[in-house]
């Protein structure tokens, strides 16, 4: 039977970029997701090069029901898992939907850089991707979000009025005019609905 609703693309992955104030914002979104969330979530949260990635993994892991881990080089991306870019490494998505880490030069003064994750994820997932820019004090993520939108992905920016640091969401909105603006609570609910897989016809 033909679906009468506007056909929605299956969403296979969500990429999220955050900086200053990121840990709290991320936990607020993640706490709204149930353990059967069917897409993979890839996160760049700017960390100090010497900070312990595992501390962030533990902090966020305790505040959500999904599996949370530091991204490893060459690991296959699995649905229902949240991958955090480790401090001092860029996180990239390969065409075969595995992850790569590199120590390439910083981008936008950052390693990991949100743009690097977003740009490679946009190519790998095309219109099956959601990109989200949250609170932060740099312009990292803006160009990457635009690329996600250019490749047919859906793009969201945290409402700058609710962000601890406004530069990042503001830059993203300037670069990517079609982005939807949402509060953190709204983003959580949106993700839940957007990834809903319709039950297979019997």
């Amino acid at each position: 039977m033909e679906k009468c609703q506007e056909r929605q693309h299956r969403i296979r992955a969500v990429v999220i970029g955050a900086s200053a104030g990121g840990a709290k914002a991320l936990s607020e979104i993640f706490s709204r997701l149930s353990s059967d969330f069917p897409a993979a979530i890839l996160v760049v949260n700017h960390l100090h090069p010497h900070s312990k990635t595992m501390q962030m993994v533990d902090y966020l892991g305790h505040r959500c029901k999904l599996r949370m881990k530091a991204a490893d080089d060459k690991e296959t991306i699995k649905p229902g898992t949240i991958y955090l870019a480790p401090a001092n490494y860029h996180l990239l998505v390969e065409a075969d939907l595995s992850l790569s880490l590199t120590i390439d030069e910083k981008v936008n003064f950052s390693r990991p850089s949100i743009d690097v994750l977003f740009e490679t994820a946009a190519e790998a997932y095309q219109d099956e991707l959601i990109g989200i820019v949250l609170t932060g004090g740099s312009k990292d993520g803006a160009a990457g979000l635009k690329k996600i939108s250019d490749f047919g992905g859906r793009v969201i920016v945290q409402d700058p009025k609710t962000a601890e640091a406004v530069i990042m969401p503001q830059s993203a909105l300037r670069e990517c005019e079609d982005a939807q603006v949402m509060s953190l609570a709204r983003i959580g609910d949106f993700l839940r609905d957007a990834v809903q897989v319709e039950p297979l016809a019997p």
């Binding site: 060459k74 990239l92 390969e94 390439d104 490679t120 790998a124």
Partner: protein
């Protein structure tokens, strides 16, 4: 075909052309990062499509040289991951002391910061005079910088901090001479270092080492190429020799993993069985 698929054809053709023309084979590098660097070079060259690089690079040797430089990621630092040096001091230095003479291979040494860090570790362990260090890379420009041993002063504070975290007991400033905005590494450190071009993709083993350091280079290779390099390393180590990888690199999924045992998982130190 969509744009991404077309670009992947272009990259395939480009890599083929380069392999045939110049003998450098990048097919087994991780693609996402390789593509970013190719696109970066494309923009610097004011070209639009990746395939436009093919005739240019085939006919212009000079342009190929700068292409090669822009593909190689030279990011490095002294005493990167200070804990690694703690572990090398605890586990590898005593092993080196059991030999009258040792060889160390630092593969993918970039601009040399890691090599000098190792030389400092050896110096403080009283081993500098009985160790030959081979420092290799495919990037000749980096090798020249490494051989000069002159670095910008701006990073010295960071390196000093790293040095202090290694638990080494000397003073980092004893190992360099400051002049204007740069520092020159002390000549005594360089005495036993040979800098040479060696390509991990295609070149062979050149001797048996007590220790091989290859950090943050294999991360750019796919599993197949990593496998080749791990076999090369296992052939290039003395019995019970050590292999030290970057903190995000691992031997465990390769075909030679059973030849090594893991000494320290976090610092990625392995020993040939």
């Amino acid at each position: 075909m969509n744009r991404v698929e077309i670009e992947s054809v272009e990259i395939e053709l480009l890599l083929q052309a380069i392999t045939k023309r110049y003998g450098y084979d990048f097919h087994n590098y991780s693609k996402a990062s390789l593509k970013r660097r190719i696109i970066g070079f494309l923009h610097k060259s004011n070209l639009e499509q990746i395939s436009e690089l093919i005739p240019r690079l085939l006919h212009d040797k000079g342009m190929f040289r700068s292409f090669l430089l822009s593909l190689s990621v030279t990011v490095t630092e002294m005493f990167r991951d200070p804990n690694v040096y703690v572990v090398l001091r605890e586990r590898v230095i005593p092993f080196l002391k059991t030999f009258p003479f040792c060889k160390i291979w630092c593969a993918g040494c970039a601009t040399g910061e890691e090599v000098y860090s190792i030389a400092i570790l050896l110096s403080e362990s009283g081993l500098l005079d009985k160790v030959q260090i081979y420092a290799t890379d495919i990037n000749d420009e980096s090798l020249q910088k490494a051989e000069l041993g002159i670095y910008s002063r701006t990073q010295i504070q960071e390196y000093t901090r790293n040095y202090q975290l290694t638990g080494l007991e000397g003073s980092f400033s004893d190992y360099y001479h400051a002049s204007f905005d740069s520092v020159v590494m002390d000549a005594s450190l360089k005495k036993n270092i040979v800098f040479a071009n060696h390509n991990l993709v295609s070149d062979e083993s050149f001797g048996k080492m007590q220790l091989i350091l290859c950090r943050n280079t294999l991360i750019y290779f796919n599993s197949e190429l990593q496998g080749r390099v791990f076999s090369l390393f296992s052939e290039s180590l003395v019995n019970k020799g050590f292999l030290c990888l970057g903190t995000k690199e691992d031997i465990q999924f390769s075909s030679v993993s059973n030849k090594f045992r893991s000494i320290r998982q976090n610092e990625k130190l392995f020993q040939l069985r």
